[in-house]
């Protein structure tokens, strides 16, 4: 039995396409795979493979500076995600629902932080905080305020853009139906609009979380000596040498990111059945 020739849309059955796909995956994931593999390398210099060990994980766990930076990063990411999601949702709803003077200008301004070079954002943030004289030496969670504010400012546009895109598929008759059935402004928002936005908000929040967690440039400009985040800490470690300890710490970060992403996707799929599954039952 011979196999039929590939159909017009069966790209994965064409040899050249498979090759292209393979090389894309190699380029994308080979560095990450190497990073993870070498975190188990029993060598200080970390250039040639010397044998398997987990001691660098133990070493990373024992590195107080690294752990502190990691805790800082998580706290900043969580706080800025919550604030960015709320602000992004409000911005998206405002842009979708209302007409007001200078709306195109406002719409463009919301998306501006996405396109501005990070380095410019960083410098601007530095200048801003210096100008208003934001105190440098606040006690722990408050000391992260500067970085958190900076993160919110570049994360919330992503939430707004994703949520806004989600709203464009909202049927305005849905809102009118709720109103017609007796819902006031707040009930309409709570019962109809936000449930519709939810997948967009989850996706946007996830994006904000990962963006905040691994941001280096803007954080570098806004962090003080007391407020080092994980990427900044890794950078300072790498300046001396790339030890497997750095690899181990990075692997933990990758694991967390993948886990969070998977969880968010799972939550999203559970809430909204995929279109293909809709007609499954009569």
């Amino acid at each position: 039995m011979t196999r039929a020739a590939p159909g017009p849309l069966e790209y994965t059955r064409r040899a050249w396409m498979r090759l292209a796909l393979l090389s894309v995956f190699v380029f994308l994931y080979a560095p990450i795979a190497t990073l993870v593999a070498f975190s188990f390398n029993d060598s200080r210099r970390n250039i040639v493979w010397r044998g398997f060990t987990t001691k660098y994980y133990e070493k990373a766990m024992a590195n107080e500076g690294l752990i502190e930076a990691f805790a800082n990063s998580l706290a900043i990411a969580l706080a800025s995600t919550v604030v960015a999601t709320v602000l992004g949702a409000i911005a998206a709803y405002t842009l979708w629902r209302f007409r007001f003077p200078l709306k195109p200008l406002y719409e463009g301004t919301v998306a501006l932080p996405i396109v501005i070079p990070e380095i410019c954002m960083g410098v601007a943030m530095l200048a801003f905080f210096a100008r208003i004289g934001w105190p440098n030496d606040l006690p722990w969670p408050l000391g992260l305020g500067r970085i958190t504010i900076a993160h919110v400012s570049f994360c919330f546009p992503f939430v707004a853009v994703v949520a806004r895109a989600r709203l464009s598929s909202f049927n305005p008759e849905m809102e009118e139906a709720a109103r017609d059935l007796g819902a006031g402004d707040w009930a309409v928002l709570r019962d109809v609009v936000i449930p519709h936005m939810r997948p967009g908000l989850v996706a946007g929040a996830l994006l904000a979380f990962t963006l905040s967690l691994d941001d280096f440039v803007i954080t570098f400009f806004t962090s003080g000596p007391e407020t080092v985040t994980f990427p900044v800490k890794v950078y300072s470690m790498v300046r001396f040498s790339v030890t497997p300890e750095v690899n181990a710490a990075s692997t933990v970060l990758i694991a967390i990111t993948v886990a969070v992403t998977a969880a968010a996707l799972w939550v999203q799929n559970r809430q909204a059945p995929a279109p293909g599954r809709r007609e499954a039952r009569p």
Binding site: N171, E173, M174, E176, A177, A178, R179, D180, L181, G182, A183, G184, A187, D191, V192, P195, H196, R198, Q271, P273, R278, A280, R281
Partner: protein
């Protein structure tokens, strides 16, 4: 109880209502009374303002001027969520993230009813629309017809005084549409509340409504029971929008006996019509004659039984034949021009193997004076 029998106080009273969108008047000086318990249709071509009028009643649009009173209360300044009306939207707008039961219970719940009461009212409403037992399903898993029933139940669970339906049947396929028509009529009889339906489909309006208002360009052209709209149209627009019609324009040359004689230059004939009102002598009018009221015969045939009443006679050649199953419509060329093509419908009462008239046949058309309606505009 039909609207005509109820005859009592109007449940909806609209006075001199106006609503403009940009430069165009969507609703232009509309006055209307809808009686309690009747099935009322707003009928018109798309863009005639019928949906806007419905949305004004629901409170989803605000009028520029004029007033709306529902159940004796002035609705000025009353927001949509406080009006004693509920709407079934064209897209159904069923909430996709709620179960069927939660959809139906939404109105009572948001209106302050307790959990148990909201549930009871939702179940009662679902039963009314034959969806008992569907409560736990997700709207994603329903067909279009079932989703519409959910929208109906959701509106009925609020126990409105007036139910507004915006093109409720337009998204359904032909067979389901026919069934839903009968079901809507039955549903109205069961719940006894006033139904106001918006439709562009004259058949829908004629078959369901106790009364219908025909709208065009934001104005109501005629409000009457379906049979009156069909047999006694107020003007050319109504005559042409509801069913098909032959129109003959001409000048009234003689008046008498409640009838008129009109010289129609386009077909070079004098046409008589009964039932004219007012002084018409010398005025331009249009005579509207429905195709099924025109008899078609071969020139030599004996005149049909009711011959004595027939006073209009035209002859020509068959130019078009449309076989529609139950009836055939023949287009007969009696003169040049648009008015010269007269359409006559003939029931296919016999299972004849061949069509009685073919293209090119010479035929005579005749109809009684009573068949023609005299239109002044």
């Amino acid at each position: 109880m039909t609207g005509a029998e109820a005859g009592g106080a109007p449940i909806v009273r609209v006075e001199r209502l106006r609503k403009r969108f940009g430069g165009t008047a969507a609703v232009d000086d509309v006055s209307l009374e809808i009686r309690a318990g009747e099935f009322f249709a707003l009928l018109g071509p798309s863009g005639c303002g019928k949906s806007t009028l419905l949305r004004l009643l629901a409170g989803l649009e605000h009028p520029d001027s004029g007033s709306i009173a529902i159940d004796g209360r002035d609705m000025a300044g009353v927001p949509a969520n406080r009006r004693p009306v509920n709407m079934v939207f064209q897209s159904y707008a069923v909430f996709p993230h709620m179960s069927v039961l939660d959809n139906a219970a939404y109105g009572p719940r948001v209106g302050g009813a307790g959990r148990a009461e909201a549930r009871a009212r939702a179940e009662e409403a679902l039963e009314l629309v034959n969806l008992a037992g569907y409560g736990s399903r997700s709207p994603d898993r329903l067909s279009g017809g079932e989703r519409q029933r959910v929208a109906l139940a959701r509106a009925l669970a609020r126990r409105p005084r007036v139910l507004l339906l915006d093109e409720p049947l337009s998204a359904l396929d032909a067979r389901l549409r026919e069934r839903m028509r009968l079901e809507l009529v039955r549903l109205r009889e069961t719940v006894g509340i006033t139904f106001v339906i918006v439709t562009h489909d004259q058949e829908e309006a004629l078959s369901m409504a106790d009364r219908a208002a025909v709208m065009n360009e934001g104005r109501i052209r005629q409000t009457a029971p379906p049979a009156e709209l069909y047999e006694h149209p107020a003007d050319r627009f109504v005559a042409g929008f509801i069913g098909s019609v032959n129109l003959f324009s001409g000048i009234v040359r003689a008046v008498g006996d409640g009838g008129v004689a009109v010289d129609a230059p386009a077909i070079g004939a004098r046409i008589e019509a009964a039932g004219a009102r007012g002084p018409l002598l010398g005025r331009p009018v249009w005579i509207a004659v429905r195709p099924e009221k025109i008899a078609i015969a071969r020139p030599g045939d004996a005149p049909p039984e009711r011959a004595p009443g027939r006073r209009n006679r035209l002859s020509g050649a068959v130019e078009e034949v449309s076989y529609l199953g139950g009836v055939s419509v023949y287009g007969v060329r009696v003169a040049e021009g648009a008015e010269g093509l007269v359409r006559a419908a003939r029931a296919n009462a016999e299972r004849a193997p061949s069509r009685p008239f073919a293209r090119g046949d010479r035929v005579t058309l005749h109809w009684p004076a009573e068949a023609g309606a005299v239109l002044e505009s």
